[in-house]
Symmetry: C2
Subunit: 215 residues, 2 copies
């Protein structure tokens, strides 16, 4: 008798803009929950209370949908860029500039952690076991680096050791990827760059007397 036996979900008709933003919201949530590859368009559509072709009407393809989500992120990012640039302009010295930029970056990634995870967390599309394999590589690196830090600087608290270790791992990954784009860089040079920065730091390199504006 009750109509909901036949119509369990109250499917409302919506305007294009309304529907679109609802879809984006749902899709971001589902992607973040299950990863990109594991999520079917069917499921997103269902959760929107709508059928699959509607999604295609709005976004063209699964990739298109993801791109639309990323575009939102890009707008936020543009905002970040703007704010950061202004903050940098206010910095009195390079250290201050870096400080402001970093705080903005980390705040941003925290406030947008869902989209950000979608972007940077590779879980998205890789087979589960593979992610494990990748993390194994990192754990191994962690196991190599952290003890050195801990034993050499016993006064550091464990969280600090962890943070430094993460930084070094990130730096290594980035640089070795960079090396594939610049094959002329030898491992020794790569090492030198890495050590210059991680060991000596920028403080010695950047002239503290300069201020941020070029002149």
């Amino acid at each position: 008798m009750t109509p909901n036996t036949k119509a369990p979900v109250r499917r409302k008709r919506m305007s294009r803009a309304e529907r679109e933003s609802q879809m984006l919201e749902v899709a971001e949530e589902v992607f973040a929950e299950q990863g990109y590859r594991a999520t079917s368009m069917e499921e997103i559509a269902e959760r929107c209370g709508v059928s699959k072709p509607m999604l295609y009407e709005h976004f063209g393809s699964k990739d298109g949908l993801l791109l639309a989500i990323l575009a939102i992120l890009a707008r936020a990012r543009a905002e970040l860029h703007h704010v950061t640039s202004e903050a940098m302009a206010l910095g009195r010295d390079p250290l201050d500039v870096l400080y402001r930029g970093l705080v903005a970056y980390y705040s941003f990634t925290r406030d947008h952690s869902r989209s950000f995870a979608l972007l940077m967390h590779e879980p998205m599309a890789l087979p589960d076991a593979t992610i494990e394999a990748i993390e194994d590589v990192r754990r191994q690196q962690h196991g190599l680096i952290a003890p050195v830090l801990a034993s050499q600087a016993p006064h550091l608290d464990p969280v600090q050791v962890e943070a430094y270790t993460e930084i070094i791992i990130g730096a290594c990954e980035r640089i070795s990827l960079w090396c594939t784009r610049r094959p002329e860089i030898t491992p020794e040079e790569a090492t030198r760059y890495t050590l210059d920065l991680c060991w000596s730091g920028l403080s010695g390199t950047i002239n503290p007397e300069n201020d941020i504006s070029g002149s």
Copy 2:
């Protein structure tokens, strides 16, 4: 008349071990060429001169095949770990230890660049346009960071600026990911850790008088 009109590829029968290693070799190549998602089992099978179910016989699934490749990589990595550890044990001071470790790491990633790219290059499974979006984020960061370095340290050559920028980007990505695992870390703390390392470097933190062995 000639038999190769009907049998273009000379499909030889092989022993299990022979076939398996051939498959791994081919698969690694094709994955590296086209990415994981874009590669079909059919194509790998074809290039092996064999039919699809053979792949499944050997590896169970597409993910299994990738895992088997990664396992090879893991063995090489174990080798690296061993070599690196020994090198580290020879290091006279922390800097030397880091130096040896880094050279080993970068040499390894270069020598195994194909598998390594497979592992670390996210292209693997993400839609192409998405990769572009991710790279956009990085380019933006690059655009923020590189000018600061360049203007503040004019004596650095461009390659160096690029390297340092890559390191900072890598560090930021890693730390912000780390923050999602440790939500109690504030952006300000994250910034402090990043700056401590990238600005001041480890040299001040690690006591140079300690030698590598704990005692």
